[in-house]
């Protein structure tokens, strides 16, 4: 199920009007509008889902595994993201949702929030022996932010914590424990992440930091919302399936990871434009005292993901209320030390820069292209209107130099040319009349 070029974020061509909304909002300038519709540049797309959010025609969507995919496996385990708990009102405990998932047809359920507890403990252990040069440590929880760093801030890659994400840890532990308990083979067990976003779907098919994901598929929260709601009892669950601490559940909200991992000298930023701004400051060494940085592409954190149903602010509050009823102890006290050694929690593959911004691999060629770009930029009006199909005039100049566009695509330049031609025709008409 591995695909190096898989992107969850997709375009429905039929619905696309070719407007400039998504074009202007993409943080990695991965969108162009050509021949009346949007195109996503695969190499530049980080699956942050901003375009899904802003598209007025609902032409942008996230491709996820349909629920029926769980039947590809003999045994199915649900891995609910903690943000799922914030989608339902009047819950007393996450156990109600877990019971509902079992009712839906899953054989077992393992909280990603528990995965978060394990990762919290593991990161804290790891940071104890880290040299301060690595600070601020940057969270690896949001795959869109990791990809953003690969594209726009590759020099900050060494700061990203080399720890697997909670959904990966949850999948590993869930599968092994289920197989040991029921005496079944691992290949017969499918672990499915109930996802609030596109980035995590992409991270399963095209992992960063490891060769293969431990998760078998991602099911969108929007897809199962109605079905799951029908299976949730509105009285407290007798089964008490929830084992995660309030810290683990708190990862659903922006700031939850920072509060669990590094309550002092940490910073949590949500919204991709805000994260970009703060990463610039970290790059400039302006945040010298910062020890831990948590960045989320979505406003509010995972509760604000593009595949969530509930308003992110309402969901945030719902999570906070639920947290009060969970185990209030810190993961350091709750997570068994054996988990840190029994499972491979650290990432195995080095994260590499994504050099899409480079004009050329050869620096002399790149310099030549830059010179050409600057010349072209001087001749452009500088309106950043998007009519040419590129997000800004500078990007348009870059596209021209890369051979993907021509100057006459700029309607302002075209208009000026037409004026000149019209003038010439008037003069020609005058001379031929005489």
């Amino acid at each position: 199920m591995q695909d190096k070029r898989f992107h969850s974020v997709r375009l429905d061509k039929e619905k696309c009007r070719g407007c400039t909304n998504c074009l202007k909002r993409c943080p990695t300038e991965a969108i162009r509008v050509r021949a009346g519709r949007a195109h996503i540049i695969d190499e530049r797309c980080i699956d942050c889902g901003e375009c899904i959010r802003v598209c007025e025609n609902h032409a942008k969507y996230a491709l996820t595994d349909p629920l029926a995919t769980i039947n590809d496996f003999k045994y199915k385990i649900a891995l609910p993201a903690p943000s799922l708990y914030g989608q339902f009102k009047k819950l007393v405990s996450p156990s109600q949702i877990l019971e509902g998932l079992l009712h839906m047809g899953f054989d077992d359920v393992f909280e990603v929030a528990t995965g978060a507890d394990i990762v919290t403990r593991a990161i804290r252990e790891r940071m104890r022996s880290m040299s301060p040069e690595r600070f601020p440590v940057i969270s690896s929880a949001c795959p869109a932010i990791t990809r953003l760093i690969q594209v726009r801030f590759p020099e900050l890659i060494p700061h990203i914590i080399d720890m697997r994400q909670p959904m990966e840890v949850a999948a590993m532990v869930a599968k092994r424990e289920f197989c040991q308990k029921h005496g079944v083979a691992e290949e017969d067990v499918g672990c499915f992440f109930i996802t609030p976003c596109a980035a995590k779907m992409t991270a399963i098919r095209n992992p960063i930091g490891q060769e293969k994901s431990a998760v078998d598929g991602a099911i969108s929260m929007l897809e199962i919302y109605g079905l799951l709601a029908g299976h949730i009892k509105n009285y407290p669950s007798a089964l008490n399936l929830s084992t995660a601490t309030s810290y683990g559940v708190g990862w659903a909200n922006n700031g939850g990871e920072a509060a669990a991992v590094c309550p002092e000298k940490s910073m949590a930023v949500d919204g991709i434009e805000n994260v970009i701004r703060v990463l610039e400051e970290i790059e400039n060494n302006k945040l010298r005292d910062l020890v831990f940085f948590e960045g989320a592409a979505c406003t509010g954190g995972c509760v604000g993901g593009p595949l969530t149903f509930e308003n992110s602010y309402i969901a945030r509050n719902a999570i906070r209320t639920l947290m009060k009823g969970c185990d209030l102890r810190h993961p350091d006290e709750v997570v068994k030390t054996s988990y840190l050694t029994k499972y491979p929690l650290q990432t195995t593959k080095k994260i590499v820069p994504n050099s899409v911004m480079k004009l050329d691999d050869d620096i002399t060629e790149a310099m030549r292209k830059m010179e050409q770009m600057e010349e072209i930029v001087k001749s452009l009006p500088g309106y950043d209107c998007g009519s040419c199909g590129s997000p800004t005039c500078r990007t348009f100049a870059e596209d021209i130099v890369r051979g993907h566009a021509s100057k006459m695509d700029c309607i302002h330049i075209l208009k000026d040319q037409l004026k000149i031609m019209a003038q010439k025709m008037v003069e020609l008409a005058k001379t031929t009349r005489e």
Partner: protein, 144 residues
């Protein structure tokens, strides 16, 4: 054969905190498009930012010039005053002449010049009171 050179100059106004970091951000973006190695880029980013802030906080206005050949990048900060009376003192970590306003904004730790010197491969500073200051930094680029 003459090496290809690219050069760009950014004006920096005194006390212009609203635009603080803009020149550095533009320079960084260009260097990323040119594919400059991440390690070198980080050092240039830090030095450039410190230089820009120094111009804003301490000078009466000046400019930042970045020039590049395939083998090295040169960053020059130039201003028209007030000039530094004691350069050795200015290069001491922790020493700062930042105004009250600058300190209130979180600046004035006295690490600007030392940071620039530490991050550059070559660092030269010349200053004369009443005339101005020129700081010249060189960063070597890996060959091949």
């Amino acid at each position: 054969m003459q090496e290809l050179t690219l050069a760009d100059t950014y004006q920096v106004k005194a006390q212009d905190y609203a635009m603080a970091g803009d020149a550095s951000a533009a320079i960084k973006r260009k260097l990323k498009q040119l594919g400059v190695d991440s390690g070198v880029l980080r050092r240039i980013a830090v030095a450039c930012y410190e230089a820009e802030l120094n111009l804003i906080i301490h000078s009466i206005g000046g400019n930042l010039t970045i020039s590049m050949t395939p083998s090295e990048i040169t960053l020059v900060s130039e201003d028209a005053g007030p000039g530094i009376p004691n350069i050795d003192q200015a290069l001491t970590e922790g020493f700062s002449t930042a105004s009250e306003e600058a300190r209130n904004l979180g600046f004035g730790a006295g690490m600007g010049l030392p940071n620039m010197k530490r991050n550059a491969d070559e660092f030269h500073i010349e200053s004369k009171v009443g005339v101005g200051t020129q700081i010249r930094m060189r960063f070597h680029l890996k060959q091949g």
